[in-house]
Subunit: 655 residues, 2 copies
């Protein structure tokens, strides 16, 4: 097993939110680390590097400013930690990974860690805080190496195999550990031929990856093909109820756990967009998931079964089929049928990671099933790492949403975990757009505690990442509302999918309108939107419990930002905001575009205050964002002007 | 030099229009071939094979049924031939390639060749009858090996080089020689890195191809990069007026002709869609073309300079820029400036091989320049070898069009030649769709004589290709009007480009509407079409001489089928046919679709009458054609119904 030390950040790679400067308050003090074990060793390594950089001291006996104590308590949550403060000393205690999280709690607080403000008891809200990587081992001819990645090649794989040098993976694991991510899926949920073999003959290389993630409190999992018994095992069937199939999964899984005792489990995309699944055998998804769950059960493993199942050969002429309904239609009837080590991984919205969707009705409909909410850290539909689009406010809204109304709990209370699709790649900035690092950071922080104060996560990230405190206000302005800005200049009022079918970047208002993908807006000369009401539409509103089934059903109560997701309305329909739909489209598109222009100006003033490489990259990307926002503004406005004939109430130029 | 005999058709490859059965009338008779030289040898080989197959006899002295005489006349057109008929003998005489053409005249006539009907004097209408092959040596990651090919890989290249086994090329050359094609361009006009080197270090392999084409009367040419002096020669410039550049072209060309004395010349796509050209040096296209023309001049070579030059980064917001104007704007002012061994290769329509365009105004505007009209045998925009689309009627219309009105000559009189883009590839049927062989055949025949009687070329092709005379009537019905059928179910009234931008197959009504390609329809709730009038539009009509400048300008006289190419009109505009524009759209789309259905039924009745492989392939393709025609019908109708709000006057289902 190689040892990748804290300091081994490869040349030219951005340190993201863990630059040496972030460790100054800690590193300039006297620190003691007590205990042993792999994660204590990681903490010890971090402390040693910090004091070396900043003139502090590791102290064995005597007075210290900071004490990090790995305890042997076996009762509590090993991910939790406590912080106590005396007049002179801050003490962090934890029985497991919590010690690492406590260390980074101290790092984040900076000087405040050495005051009473640091004290408290801390535990993660979500036990499962997972990142899925849609990385291919082989470069896919269409999808590239990291599907929907936009940030270079895979960190894990190169030249058809796991990389020999894993130093960059170690640096990545360190970043993830610092924000409390505790599981990663190592490969694309679309499992191709080579990738399928990670489960069997390529397993020794997976062991090497597991060894690199483990010191940071992270368990690795694999996306597996439901057809593995056929593809890898040479069986005649993958029928989940077939004894030979079950035996194959049991044997194969035992071999995995023999090599990786803390293996997280399997991620499965089944019967979705061409991936194999239980439907081929007349079985349902509970049958499918449970077959695999029973194989990992003896070892404490989990099956992450994706609920992203829909008809991807829909006929656009057929208005009765509604892709938004699909996950609920397929899965809600199976509630209670899944084993307790199955986590049903549900996209946060009912369609597909759009800038604005309602929360998936599945969340409220499967009380007897462990669920995880799935997000995208990668900006597939939100600017593909070319646009500033800080997504934490979106995720926060989802996690705070109350599926049963004010009387019930929030999404964050209803789920057993959160999962996001990472896009980290070999780009020097990890996430392509340097400011998109905040999305990766924020995902971890929100997974740990979705109740962190609005804006706090962003300011934490800015404070850690940039040595100059003077950039905070401007950066906050650039980023904080950027998701809503993106929403304004793209598809309006929750209608979604007006993107180029080839690649999902840039506008194509009718791009999906006559396609097989089930994502339509139905704009005609009179109006626009999808009627998903029970009264006259697809009935999708009926998948929600009260009050939402009624809130969304009625034009009187449906929120403006979701209007076209739930209703087909005439262009002169008056929103709660007081403007008509068509005037809203014009206004938001002009406004969103203007906001990008202002963002570019705000950013330009940061020259010399942020590293030159960051400044230059973001400056270039803002040029592209403005160009693309101009296309969005003009194409969407022109499209609706041509259809509606409605003049802009403010007389602006529409082509 | 390998010898590829007549009989060497590789296993499994379709004989196209030269099956052994086509040679029965000739092959069952007594035949004498007189003379020598390479083409006489080819004729001799054909005759020998035919009599071997069908029981005839090659006779040295004495009475014969057919005599083919290669003469030594040096005065006339070596491509012409005469046919005389006595009571017992048909005699064909020619001084060059005409003997081969005369042989195939005899083959085409079948039994009638041995009657008075065969006699006459025959010469090609067009001295240049050329096929361009958009073949890449290396498989292009996006465009594949044969750009816009749709019929397998390249016949010429495999595995990064010219094929070692050229037997299939020889069979292809034989097919082309039989229809009078006399020049081929061997590589894609978009010249990539490897392909550029065909001119220099890969030249020995080009020699091998030239050797295979030569016995069939065909000279080979190469597409070359205008940047060759830089890319291949290491010069600092490709400025056509630079003496070093001229010297480089002279030296390089001399080497080509030393290896291939009958080399046809260079095909050049310059300053077009990213290809390099003279504009980079502040030179015009006459400067560019003449620089290369002077290099090939001493050897009798020609430069085929494409007029396909336009702004491919157009802003859709800018309605004053008109791609249709581009070729005329760029080239008409240069008339008189091109050397006499330059042929300006002009796409037959002003845009890009659409199912319906007016004839390019360039044809009538450059009387002092040698022009060639360019067509596509490949069905890039006409169904991509998946749809039955017999294009000869389209080309016939173009060649018969009178650019100066009834008092002047036809396009066929105004040009020095015709060129088409072939799509022949490694597909067993050569052209992908078996019935598309008729397009390749018909191109050669029409290039030879565009005044052949309407329908005759198709019947010739059917007669040669299918041994069973009983299939003629049904096949004629399947194919003869298929281009107009295709026109009916696709983009209406000459408006063009409603295809998927990624690949040009299938409908996407707004696919190009907000793109950079300059191909728009401007449909809004009130009307559709491009205003290209002088009065209120782009002024494109002014590029035509009288009478067309006025015919197209006026709604009263503009032909219906080109209405939306020249005018933006309201949906309720009444056509000369008496129906409104929108009702015409509905009617033609329902009708076109119904015609495909009827075509499929007609075809189905041919089972057992045509070879099973042909029947099965065409049957499969008709299924796809019907599916695709259904999409076209429904998407176009729905699109215009949503925009116009106009109900179908006949109450048919519009989605």
């Amino acid at each position: 097993m190689n040892d990748y030390s804290v300091a081994a950040l490869p040349e030219g790679v951005d340190p993201a939110w863990l630059p040496p400067s972030a460790f100054r308050p800690l590193g300039s003090r006297r620190v003691r680390v007590v205990g042993d074990g792999p994660l204590v060793a990681t903490v010890r390594g971090e402390v040693a590097a910090a004091v070396r950089d900043h003139g502090g001291e590791v102290v064995g006996d005597g007075a210290v400013d900071l004490e990090l104590v790995g305890t042997n308590d076996s009762g509590g949550d090993p991910e939790a930690f406590t912080v106590e403060r005396t007049a002179t000393t801050t003490t962090v205690r934890a029985s497991g990974a919590g010690l690492l999280y406590g260390l980074h709690h101290v790092v984040r607080l900076g000087e405040a860690a050495f005051s009473a403000a640091a004290a408290g008891e801390f535990a993660p809200r979500q036990p499962i805080r997972m990142l899925d990587h849609w990385d291919n081992v082989d470069v896919h001819p269409v999808m590239g190496q990291v599907e929907r990645g936009y940030a270079g090649g895979s960190l894990f794989y190169d030249d058809g195999a796991v990389r020999s040098d894993l130093s960059r993976v170690a640096a990545y694991a360190r970043l993830l550990g610092s924000i409390g991510v505790n599981r990663v899926g190592l490969n694309n949920v679309n499992v191709h031929r080579t990738e399928a073999r990670l489960l069997t003959d390529l397993l020794p290389d997976v062991v090497r990856l597991a060894d690199v993630f483990r010191p940071h409190g992270i368990r690795v999992g694999l996306s597996v093909s439901f057809a593995s018994p056929v593809v890898l095992g040479g069986l005649a069937t993958s029928d989940p109820l077939d004894p030979e199939v079950r035996d194959w999964w049991a044997r194969t899984t035992a071999a995995v756990y023999a090599a990786i005792p803390d293996f997280a489990g399997y991620v499965v995309k089944a019967d979705s967009e061409g991936q194999p699944g239980p439907f081929a055998y007349g079985r349902d998804h509970a049958d499918g998931a449970n077959a695999l769950a029973r194989a990992v059960k003896p070892f404490g493993g989990t099956v992450f079964w994706r609920a992203f199942v829909y008809d991807h050969h829909q006929d656009w002429r057929d208005r009765s089929t509604d892709r938004a309904r699909a996950a609920h239609d397929h899965f809600a009837p199976l509630d209670g049928g899944f084993d307790d080590n199955v986590v049903l991984q549900v996209k946060a919205g009912p369609i597909d990671f759009q800038p604005r969707e309602p929360v998936s009705p599945v969340i409220a409909s499967m009380p007897s099933t462990r669920l995880a909410a799935e997000f995208q850290v990668t900006q597939e539909y939100t600017g593909q790492q070319k646009h500033v689009c800080y997504l934490v406010p979106q995720w926060r809204e989802v996690l705070a949403f109350r599926p049963w109304g004010d009387g019930g709990g929030a999404v964050a209370d209803a789920v057993a975990g959160v999962v996001a699709v990472s896009n980290a790649g070999t780009d020097p900035f990890w996430t392509g757009h340097p400011l998109a690092q905040a999305n990766l950071y924020g995902f971890g922080r929100l997974a740990w505690d979705d109740r962190l104060a609005q804006g706090a996560v962003l300011d934490e990230w800015i404070g850690l990442t940039f040595a100059d405190d003077g950039v905070r206000e401007a950066l906050h302005r650039v980023m904080d509302d950027s998701w809503r800005t993106y929403e304004r200049y793209t598809a309006p009022l929750g209608v979604g999918f007006m993107v180029n079918p080839s690649g999902h970047y840039g506008p194509a208002v009718d791009g999906y309108e006559y396609s097989r993908w089930g994502t339509y807006h139905f704009a005609d000369r009179d109006g626009v939107g999808v009627d998903r009401t029970r009264a006259t539409g697809t009935g999708f509103t009926g998948q929600y419990p009260a009050p939402w089934r009624d809130v969304y059903e009625s034009l009187d109560t449906c929120p403006d930002e979701l209007l076209l997701f739930f209703h087909h309305v005439p262009y002169d329909h008056v929103l709660h905001s007081g403007t008509t739909v068509v005037q809203h489209i014009y206004d938001t598109h002009f406004d969103g575009h203007d906001e990008v222009r202002r963002t570019a100006a705000t950013w330009a003033a940061l020259e010399g205050r942020v590293p030159a490489a960051v400044f230059d990259r973001v400056t270039d990307l803002l040029t592209e964002q403005l160009r693309c926002a101009t296309e969005w503004r003009d194409q969407v406005n022109t499209y609706f002007h041509r259809k509606s004939g409605a003049p802009d109430g403010r007389g602006r130029r529409i082509y």
